[in-house]
Amino acid sequence: MTGYPSKDSADEMDALASEYVLGTLPAEQRLDVQNRLATDADLRAAVDAWEGRLLTLTELAEPQTPSPQLWGRIERSVSSHDRQTPVKAAAGKSHSWWDLLPLWRGLAGAGLFATLLLATLLATRTTPVNPTTYLVVLVAPQNQAPGWVIQASSPEEIQLIPLGAAPVPTDKALQFWTKADGWQGPVSLGLVKPGQTLSVPVNKLPPLQPNQLFELTLENPTGSPTGKPTGPIQFIGRAVKVI
């Protein structure tokens, strides 16, 4: 069990490397491989190749948020690790690398390492585009009392959220309009039920602009007969960019 031929054929060595990386070697053989890695360049190359082949599979383990204390522990250990041996889980390792590696070398290496990591990450990732977010508070024109909030966190749709249930006469309806600077006139975004959140798809409209006007007017139950606001403004507000 402990022995392997001193001159592995390439296939046997590759099989050993593959099972080492896969994790199925028994403790004794694992230790054996780990000790050989320091001196056996061929085995190391075979192991590295297998690490590379299988690495993607690590993504099958669901990420897990660390406890808030973990970073503090690491920081403390790094600053005090000098001559201690905090590596409990590495009990099987016999290298006393902490004695061999002066602190400053580690620091320099960490810098190099951060650079490499950043380069890797930059090359393999695309930064998610953060859409501009807008917020509109619609207030009653008479007393400036806020009645609705519009939230636009995605370019596809905006949400009209009531802050209360303002009564609407039974023979009337609230109609939702918007107009940006430079538009011919207001565009209807549909009828609104008092007290209910309304999601409005806006992907057919030009992108939201700062200062874009939104308003709710009182119209006939079927909406404005002319396609433009005809009734009194109930609530009005302008878009503010949220950073």
Partner: protein, 163 residues
């Protein structure tokens, strides 16, 4: 170092947790991995692979070492054992995939696709869950010798497929 932590700690912890099967132990392992990465960063050789791959390898092997070194003292708790058995029962005749490996990009997935489901499960239980031969044998309900042979041959097949 803190950037690296922010960027990768959740993924590393996920990897360690699957193998160590305990939150506390997984955090110990990630802690140890970071110390190791920090102290050995000077010996990192870019010719041996990507920095990111290295970090994951360090974490996985610390977790595997711990599990193998403590194999004789760690008893599978009754709860996790019954969970294992219940899951095994779900893998009807080992023809069902235990892992959501499809719809992922990466050469390895295309190559795994070419293996029989039972063998694919063996490889994934070993790599992702850190199961030993006998644990896999229990899990997939196949004899130990069969599992060992499946894994050996599957690795050869993966090697041929991936180059």
């Amino acid at each position: 170092m803190h950037d690296l932590y922010t960027q990768e700690s959740a993924r590393l912890l996920g990897v360690a947790k699957r193998i160590a099967r305990s939150d506390a132990l997984a955090e110990d392992i990630v802690h140890d991995a970071f110390i190791k990465i920090w102290t050995r960063a000077g010996s990192f050789d870019p010719a041996r692979g990507t920095a990111r791959g290295w970090i994951f390898s360090v974490t996985r092997h610390l977790a595997l070492n711990f599990m193998r070194d403590n194999a004789h003292t760690l008893e599978v708790s009754e709860q996790s054992e019954s969970a294992v058995l219940a899951e095994a029962a779900l893998d009807v005749a080992t023809e069902v995939d235990s892992f959501e490996y499809r719809a992922r990009s990466g050469r390895i997935y295309g190559c795994l696709e070419q293996l029989e489901p039972a063998r694919r499960n063996c490889i994934l239980h070993a790599y992702v869950d850190g199961y030993s031969h006998s644990e896999i044998s229990q899990k997939v309900g196949a004899p130990l010798g069969t599992v060992k042979a499946w894994i050996k041959r599957s690795l050869v097949a993966l090697r041929e497929c991936m180059g």
